[in-house]
């Protein structure tokens, strides 16, 4: 059986409204990338970093401060 890891996903702005959550724990397969997590969450992102156990993944829309 494939090993699984647990990460924390944070949501901001439009994504927070869509999910109605500020953050949540998310279980995924070891060697997952943000892209993999995005596909499961039906959100966006595409990097090739391998996620590690207890990683914190933050999806950041274009910033609009000021």
């Amino acid at each position: 059986m494939q090993q699984r890891i647990e990460i924390t996903v944070h949501y901001f702005a439009k994504l927070r409204d869509l999910t109605n959550k500020e953050q949540e724990s998310f279980e995924t397969e070891i060697n997952s990338t943000p892209k993999d997590v995005y596909r499961k969450l039906n959100s966006f992102a595409s990097w090739k970093t391998e996620l590690e156990d207890k990683d914190k993944l933050v999806f950041i829309p274009p910033v609009t401060g000021g």
């Binding site: 829309p61 401060g65 000021g66």
Partner: protein
């Protein structure tokens, strides 16, 4: 001084008292971004700012450090509001101290421009019509 802050409290320029050697200061520039009542043809009732504070403080302090390295200034400070803001309230304040006005103007401009494009803060406009929307890019 020389620090970036996030606050849910009202920003009052008078209450910010940076500690600086008075003998060096010849200029103080302040920029305040204020909530206005319209944008892109819609009448705005209030704004809501959301922030990823951990990264915002880190990136904000990096911007202030860059300003201190690249301009002849003696102090730089920035504070940004989060939460719901009424029309007329200050959303962001930048304060720069320098020996001369040109350096303080330039550094102040650099800081606000970089904050608007790099610091993870998001603005939601709530309109008089009852609708609301997250803005889509630095404006």
């Amino acid at each position: 001084m020389n620090s970036f802050h996030i606050t849910e409290d009202v920003i009052d320029a008078e209450s910010i008292q940076p500690v600086l050697p008075a003998s060096k200061v010849g200029a103080k520039s302040i920029f305040e971004g204020i909530v206005r009542d319209n944008n892109l043809g819609k009448i705005v009732k209030k704004l809501e700012y959301q922030c990823y504070e951990e990264l915002a403080v880190k990136e904000g302090n990096t911007i202030l450090k860059e300003a201190l390295e690249n301009y002849k200034i003696d102090g730089a400070f920035c504070v940004h509001r989060t939460g719901k803001l009424e029309i007329g309230e200050t959303a962001v304040l930048v304060m720069v101290y320098a020996a001369h006005r040109e350096d303080s103007f330039q550094a102040c401009r650099y800081i606000i421009d970089e904050v608007k494009t790099r610091v993870p803060i998001w603005k939601k406009e709530i309109y008089v019509s009852g609708e609301s929307d997250w803005l889509k890019g630095a404006g």
